[in-house]
Symmetry: C2
């Protein structure tokens, strides 16, 4: 596998609207996407766009608020009530090839590929197999034609 | 303040060489900088370069291994023995203006600006004032002439 683009850093928050205000008013973000509910992950989510090199799109901050306390992100927030860095997400060209790659190395892939917040297939790999980082692998979105 | 480039994600590790091997052999990184000791932070450090959009330089992964157990990163690893995401670092144009900005908002800036791993001045802001994220602010390196 070849290292892909660092698509986003997932940041959990107990209050999505307060986090959006923080990124706008404290950090100076000018481009934050409209929040929506991603039912498959039981989260309300939006993206803070950060500037990349030379006017390109940089790595995003994905803000995540659980919609249900008894969910993966809800339980994480119980242990980290202020919120914080929850996961890291890399792009790959082919999600099924990536799943086979991690599995061939004995890494625990958490479930089958499913559609993520960017509309392309994703899966997560267990943090205990990834240097303590919950790692999301997402298929790079195809450009619109 | 205007949101700057997401320069790097700081990832703490109990074994820098094993982490470099992980990024190379599992994640497929092809560009990892030579490790060096950053005395001011009591860490041995290197950077994994990730590809940005359109061939630009992406957000880096900064791997950090404490050189002393009784240090900031050493104590963090005691609580998180596998390692994991330790901090997030944004670039700013002017480090002193950024310090004044965060202080004017009542954010706890941890010490005076000092030279960081990229050779430019940096400071950290307390995670409890930043949505649970230890946040590094660094002055953007000047281009070589």
């Amino acid at each position: 596998m070849k290292l892909g683009r660092l698509n986003h850093i997932g940041v959990a928050t107990p209050d999505l609207d307060a986090s959006i205000a923080f990124y706008r008013d404290v950090m100076g973000a000018t481009d934050v996407t409209e929040p929506f509910v991603l039912e498959s992950q039981q989260v309300r989510v939006c993206f803070v766009n950060t500037p990349g090199e030379g006017g390109t799109a940089g790595t995003q901050i994905e803000l995540l608020q659980p919609t249900v306390a008894d969910s993966a992100v809800g339980k994480w927030l119980e242990r980290n009530p202020l919120g914080g860095q929850h996961h890291i997400c890399y792009e790959v060209a082919d999600i099924h090839a990536a799943k086979a790659w991690f599995e061939s190395l004995g890494k625990r892939v958490l479930g089958e590929p499913r559609i993520g917040a960017h509309g392309t297939p994703i899966f997560f790999v267990h943090p205990k197999d990834m240097g303590g980082q919950l790692t999301e692998i997402m298929e790079t979105p195809k450009e619109a034609h």
